[in-house]
C-alpha cells in the first residue's frame, strides 16, 4: 500500500498525486519491482526494511541514502507478553523520501512534526519517534512485570513465570534494537555533511543520541532486575508448592490414623471390646483422638 505525503507549511500532509514523501506499507511485488528498478533501491536493503531481524544501519547509494532502523512492533494480545520489534527503511533522495515499513502506523502526527523544513528533518523525526515509542513500551513492560510479580507471589501457576520469561526475552530484543539504533544515530551524526544536515538538525541528532542512550540504560536496568530476580521468583513458586504439599500431607495423615484405628477393629477375628456394649463409641473416640494427637504434634513441632 502506497501513501503519498508532502511537506506543506512545516507539516507533513497527505498529497495523493504529487507528494514527495512516499510511504510503502508492506509493499507488494509490483511496488517492490518499481522501487528496485525505477528508484534503484538495493534489493537486499529493501528486504532489510521489512525484516525484523535486520540490524539498524546507514548505507550510501549513488542516488540516495538508506537508513534502516528498529522500532517496537504493535503489541497484540496474541503475543502473550512478548514485545517484538520491527524494522523500518528510510530511503532519502535529493527531493524525495521513501519510507518502507511492514505495518500501517500514523508516522507524521504529533508535536515533533509541527515545524519541519526538509526531508532530512522528516527522516530524523521518524527515528526520534521510534525512540519515544521504545521508552513508552519500557514503561508498559515495567508495569506488566510488577503485575506478574504480584501474581507469582500469590500463585503456583507456571503461566505467570513463563510470562516473566517472555518479558525478559522482550527486553533482550529491545536492548538489541535500541543499541542498534544508537549506532545508526552515531553514524548519522558522523555523516552530517554528506547528509546535508543543518546546524539545528545536528543539534537534534545530539538530543537523539542522549535520548537513545537513556532509553538503552533504562532497558538495561529493567533487564538486569528481571534477570537477577528470576531465581528468587522461581524459589518463591517452589516454596509455595512446598507449603501446599505439606498441608496436603498433614491432612492425609490426619485422615489416615482414624482410618487405621477403625480398620484394626474391623478385622474379622476376635478383638478386644468385641462384647462391650459401648464398643462403637469407644472405637470412634479412639479414632477421633488420633486426629487430635496429630493436631497436638503439629503444633508442638510448629509445622
Amino acid at each position: 500500500m502506497l501513501k503519498r505525503m508532502e511537506l506543506s507549511g512545516g507539516k507533513v500532509v497527505p498529497n495523493g498525486d504529487n507528494g514527495n514523501i512516499h510511504v510503502y506499507v508492506n509493499p507488494d511485488e509490483t511496488e517492490r519491482k518499481y522501487l528496485v528498478e525505477k528508484l534503484e533501491l538495493d534489493e537486499h536493503t529493501l528486504a532489510s526494511a521489512l525484516d525484523p531481524d535486520e540490524l539498524a544501519r546507514l548505507e550510501f547509494e549513488p542516488n540516495h541514502t538508506a537508513l534502516i532502523f528498529k522500532r517496537p512492533r504493535n503489541y497484540s494480545s496474541e503475543d502473550m507478553f512478548v514485545f517484538k520489534i520491527a524494522s523500518v527503511g528510510l530511503f532519502l533522495f535529493e527531493n524525495r523520501l521513501i519510507v518502507v515499513l511492514s505495518e500501517d502506523i500514523p508516522l507524521f502526527q504529533g508535536k515533533q512534526f509541527a515545524r519541519i523544513t526538509s526531508l532530512q528533518e522528516v527522516a530524523l523525526k521518524i527515528i526520534y519517534s521510534s525512540i519515544a515509542h521504545f521508552n513508552e513500551h519500557l514503561r508498559v513492560i515495567n508495569a506488566v512485570s510488577d503485575a506478574l510479580e504480584d501474581q507469582i507471589n500469590a500463585s503456583m501457576e507456571n503461566k505467570y513465570l513463563l510470562s516473566l520469561f517472555s518479558l525478559e526475552k522482550s527486553l533482550v530484543y529491545y536492548l538489541n534494537g535500541i543499541g542498534s539504533n544508537g549506532k545508526l544515530i552515531e553514524r548519522v551524526k558522523n555523516s552530517a555533511v554528506k547528509l546535508k544536515l543543518t546546524t539545528e538538525s545536528i543539534e537534534f541528532v545530539d538530543d537523539m543520541i542522549i535520548e537513545n542512550q537513556q532509553c538503552y540504560e533504562q532497558a538495561s536496568t529493567y533487564s538486569n532486575i528481571l534477570a537477577s530476580m528470576m531465581d528468587a521468583r522461581v524459589s518463591i513458586v517452589s516454596n509455595n508448592l512446598n507449603w501446599l504439599i505439606k498441608t496436603l500431607t498433614i491432612i492425609t495423615i490426619a485422615i489416615m490414623l482414624p482410618t487405621l484405628v477403625v480398620s484394626v477393629f474391623s478385622m474379622n477375628v476376635e478383638i478386644p471390646l468385641e462384647d462391650h456394649p459401648y464398643a462403637f463409641w469407644v472405637i470412634l473416640a479412639m479414632a477421633l483422638s488420633t486426629t487430635y494427637v496429630v493436631r497436638l504434634v503439629w503444633r508442638w513441632k510448629k509445622w
Binding site: R71, P72, R73, N74, Y75, S76, S77, E78, F81, F83, D104, I105, P106, L107, F108, Q109, G110, K111, Q112, F113, K125, I126, S129, S130, A132, H133, E136, H137, R139, V140, A143, V144, A147, L148, Q151, S163
Partner: protein, 102 residues
C-alpha cells in the same frame, strides 16, 4: 447512611475505542494507572469478557480492536469521576496520535 450511599455509588459508561491499534500496550497502562489512582473498583466488559480495569495483565489479554464498544462499570466514592477521566482519555486517543501506536 449518606456515607454508605456515597461509598456504594455505581456508574456505568459505554466507551468506544478510537485508537487504530485498539486497546494496545500504552492505553492499557494508562487505563490501569487511572483506575489504580481512583478509590473505585472498575470493571470493563467487552462482549462476553469482563475484566478488572486496574489489572494491566487482564487488559492486555482482552485484545480489544479499534471501534469496539467497552462498558465500564465503576463502584466507589469517585465512580463518576474515574469514568469521566477514562472517557476523556479514550476520546483523545490517549494522546497517542503522536507518530506511533502499539
Amino acid at each position: 447512611m449518606a456515607m454508605e450511599e456515597m461509598v456504594n455509588n455505581t456508574a456505568t459508561r459505554m466507551i468506544t475505542v478510537l485508537n487504530p491499534a485498539g486497546l494496545h500496550a500504552r492505553p492499557s497502562l494508562a487505563v490501569a494507572q487511572t483506575v489504580r489512582r481512583s478509590k473505585s473498583k472498575v470493571e470493563v466488559r467487552a462482549g462476553q469478557q469482563t475484566v478488572d480495569a486496574s489489572d494491566i495483565l487482564q487488559l492486555l489479554s482482552m485484545g480489544v480492536p479499534c471501534g469496539a464498544e467497552l462498558e465500564f462499570e465503576a463502584t466507589g466514592p469517585d465512580a463518576e469521576e474515574v469514568l469521566d477521566s477514562l472517557a476523556g482519555m479514550f476520546a483523545n486517543r490517549f494522546g497517542l496520535f503522536d507518530g506511533h501506536v502499539g
